[in-house]
């Protein structure tokens, strides 16, 4: 047992981690949370060093320094778009470290059966996490293809390797044999690769999140190996929150988790039949609420869908709420929005939207670049960039609100169906665009609640 002061320091560090996760779950405290986490980590590491680095102190410092020299600049210089693969890589090295720690401990110490079980788990999960993360990194970095990779008879290979692992694990526990453990490590590596290969490009972030939770579990298991409460608590926290997070992310993409991970087998067949599909990003009410709540300027572009949903009162309420938060809200009234001239005017006047807030094309388009969020409420044709860019489009030449020049676009509609003109709208597939599916009035009412709770 370590001395009390060490354990207390670890407890404080664990506390910091809990607070960090809590902070990271709310926009207001996210940054602070991250800093608290870092502080906790610093405390833990310093404590471990002071108490545990009986031998090899300088070497350890050197290794830490080397890690910092590699990690910090990498994290600093990475482009925003490449962050997911960076996270994957960091996750992978964490998993590898956990496996190594368990391996070394296994070599050094001769422990109980329970200890061996924990070791086996750490090594196996750590290895899976490591190799899986490396593959996701390669996918995202586009070093290898981002499409689901299906090995011939992939399912059987996977099952075979998994069985091998299942056989090895008890053997290790029974024999305490180091070579067998190394073999298990190799099996873990193979499993990780097999696990991630079939995942398609858009789903890779979910795989990363799951591997992240795995690493957490590996760390927790290593905590058992080392009898270290901090590792248990921190690893479990990450494991649990990572699992929930993975589920949330899958939900946000509207797909059950199993589908994402194993769907490639079935999906690939379907894809072969259908043509190339463009991807859309649909968000939750909370996403949109945050987008809006932290914007400086919002442009509401109402269309026929606002009228169909009779959402004029709801949109006015939302706008007023945003204005109370100091956000500038304008309404972009397109000359032909709706189904009769002045359709939007009638609705918005009924909802008492002040006339000064109603802007026309020419008032808005030149400054579109400084609009943080364009909230398209049941409009479609009037924001279709095809009218500007695609001479073959039947609506080519109609002036539009160029919301594709805004910093972000939120589309509220019920489906992917086109508008009056019956032409597809490229903006729906734009990376800037978040879709919020559902009846406009429902969505706005929910948004209202969500923004209030920010």
């Amino acid at each position: 047992m370590s001395p009390t002061w060490v354990q207390l320091a670890y407890l404080v560090a664990a506390l910091c981690f809990v607070l960090a996760l809590k902070g990271l779950s709310t926009p207001r405290y996210a940054r602070l949370g991250n800093l608290v986490g870092a502080a906790g980590m610093a405390l833990a590491v310093v404590t471990a060093y002071a108490h545990g680095a009986v031998h090899n102190g300088p070497l350890i410092l050197l290794a830490v320094a080397a890690g910092a020299v590699v990690g910090v600049p990498a994290a600093r210089s990475v482009k925003m778009t490449a962050i997911p693969q960076m996270v994957a890589l960091f996750n992978g090295v964490g998993g590898a470290a956990a496996a190594l720690v368990a391996l070394v401990e296994f070599v050094e110490v001769d422990g109980s059966a329970l200890f061996d079980v924990a070791t086996v788990l750490t090594v196996l999960i750590g290895a899976v996490s490591f190799s899986g993360s490396v593959v996701t990194f390669l996918k995202l970095q586009e070093v290898m293809t981002t499409r689901p990779v299906l090995l011939p008879a992939g399912r059987f290979v996977g099952a075979g390797v998994a069985l091998l692992g299942l056989a090895l694990a008890p053997a290790v526990v029974a024999t305490s044999s180091v070579p067998l453990l190394v073999a298990l490590f190799a099996v873990g590596l193979a499993l990780g690769v097999l696990f991630v290969l079939p995942v398609g490009g858009a789903d890779v972030p979910i795989a990363i999140s799951l591997l992240n939770a795995f690493t957490g579990l590996a760390v927790a298991a290593s905590g058992y190996v080392l009898g270290n409460t901090l590792l248990i608590v921190a690893g479990t926290l990450v494991g649990a929150s990572g699992t929930i997070l993975t589920r949330l992310m899958a939900q946000a993409m509207g797909r059950p988790l199993a589908n994402i991970l194993f769907g490639a087998f079935t999906a690939a067949r379907a894809a072969a039949a259908g043509g190339e599909q463009r991807t859309v990003r649909s968000g939750t009410v909370e996403d949109v609420a945050i987008l809006l709540g932290y914007a400086h300027s919002v442009l509401v572009v109402p269309g026929y869908g606002l009228a169909v949903a009779q959402a004029q009162h709801a949109v006015r309420e939302l706008a007023q709420l945003l204005e109370k938060r100091g956000i500038r809200v304008d309404y972009g009234i397109h000359p032909v929005a709706g189904r009769m001239p002045g359709h939007m005017n009638v609705l918005l006047a009924e909802a008492d939207v002040p006339y000064e807030n109603l802007k026309e094309l020419d008032d808005v388009n030149p400054g579109m670049g400084s609009v943080d969020v364009a909230l398209v409420v049941g409009a479609n044709d009037v924001v279709n960039p095809g009218a500007r860019d695609d001479p073959a489009s039947p609506i080519y030449g109609m002036p539009i609100f160029e919301v594709d020049h805004a910093k972000a676009v939120v589309f509220m509609k019920r489906s992917m169906r086109p508008g009056f003109a019956g032409v597809d709208n490229g903006l729906l597939y734009h990376p800037k665009t978040t879709l919020l599916f559902g009846d406009a009035k429902d969505s706005l009412t929910k948004l209202l609640t969500a923004v209030k709770q920010l």
């Binding site: 397109h334 000359p335 032909v336 002045g342 005017n345 006047a349």
Partner: protein
């Protein structure tokens, strides 16, 4: 009691409808209705009969003991009345001194709805309010009809039409209703009144209140303003009048000439095609150019002097009026006998002549 067919020109209302006839007969009164009384309100004689009235061919003056009318009687008709007969209806004494003299002479007990105290209890009898409601609503329709522009805003493929600007002067019952109606039609409305309570009332309808640096008045009615005050008021509102597409004037001081708020010069500063509707035209006019019942052009601005606007909505104006009048009459009726209690604040308050004497102070002075 009797209900005449109104005989004044352009009067299309009637003082009782079948529903109020039923109320009155229910209270034990025998009701005579002159044939054709309800024709403008689209009520056939048969409907009155069905409600329990007797349809009589002639004006019931002299035959009925109680006469319920909208407009005051003609003085000649009033001569047919007998001592103790009762008349109920509008009767602005200052404008009808001849009639008042006849009523005094014949010993008639006359009640004027123009004099009804504006107290809470009397609200059900308050025909000034109910008819002002009609007038305020119609005033906006009249203006919208005459304006060569839209009231609401429209953003269309052929350009954007801005909302019309409407200025309402005087925010009594009619003024408030005009504000509400113009807002409904999508206009941008602002309003002014001298009463202190008016600012909040105007805002409670979603319109802008014009804050002028003028003294405000308290109380239910506005008191007469000095010419000096009006001069300052005109100066202050001139710019707002010029900026408006429609001006609706409803300012009034009971029993007095209406204050002149819009001068010829102010009209000339308005945009061509603008419209002024003057609800006060009959009592002298808030607009210097207005003539009751006429559309006067001043430059390219149209000034409509309203003449009996409530009458232009005969069905509903009659309905409200008939109910007011019936409520007043019922308040005087007990066991089928009409016996007004002149000590009652409300009934006494609107009694103009009784037993050969004028009971209304200011009118007494005028005579």
């Amino acid at each position: 009691m009797g209900i005449p067919a109104e005989s004044r020109p352009a009067e299309r209302r009637v003082a009782a409808l079948p529903e109020t006839v039923a109320l009155l007969t229910g209270a034990g009164l025998a009701v005579d209705v002159q044939s054709g009384a309800g024709r403008h309100a689209h009520v056939p004689d048969a409907a009155y009969q069905a409600a329990g009235a007797t349809v009589v061919p002639d004006h019931p003056a002299g035959a009925a003991e109680v006469l319920l009318s909208v407009q005051p009687l003609d003085p000649e008709r009033a001569r047919l009345l007998r001592e103790g007969d009762i008349t109920i209806g509008f009767l602005p004494p200052a404008a009808e001194l001849d009639l008042v003299r006849v009523l005094v002479e014949r010993g008639v007990t006359s009640f004027s709805l123009d004099l009804l105290p504006r107290v809470t209890r009397a609200q059900g009898m308050d025909a000034l309010s109910s008819q002002a409601l009609v007038a305020g609503y119609r005033a906006v329709l009249v203006a919208a009809e005459r304006l060569p522009r839209f009231l609401p805003m429209f953003t269309t493929a052929a350009g954007t039409v801005p909302p019309a600007k409407v200025l309402v002067l005087g925010a009594g019952v009619a003024g408030l209703q005009a504000i509400a109606t113009a807002r409904r039609l999508g206009a941008v409305v602002e309003a002014y009144d001298v009463r202190a309570a008016a600012a909040e009332e105007v805002r409670s309808l979603g319109a802008r209140f014009l804050e002028l640096s003028l003294e405000t008045q308290s109380g239910v009615y506005a008191a007469e303003q000095s010419e000096d005050f009006l001069e300052r008021q005109r100066e202050l509102i001139a710019e707002r009048v010029a900026a408006s597409d429609v001006v609706i004037c409803t300012a009034a001081v009971p029993g007095r000439r209406a204050p002149v708020l819009v001068t010829h010069d102010m009209l000339k500063a308005m945009a061509p095609g603008s419209v002024v509707v003057d609800l006060a035209a009959e009592s002298g006019g808030n607009c210097a150019a207005s003539a009751p019942g006429e559309d006067v052009r001043v430059g390219e601005v149209l000034v409509h002097g309203a003449l009996n606007l409530p009458s232009s909505l005969p069905v509903h104006a009659s309905r409200l009026y008939a109910r007011n009048a019936a409520n007043l009459l019922l308040a005087m009726t007990e066991d089928g006998v009409v016996r007004p209690d002149l000590d009652d604040e409300v009934i006494g308050g609107c009694c103009l002549t009784h037993a050969g004497r004028v009971r209304h102070g200011p009118t007494g002075e005028l005579l």
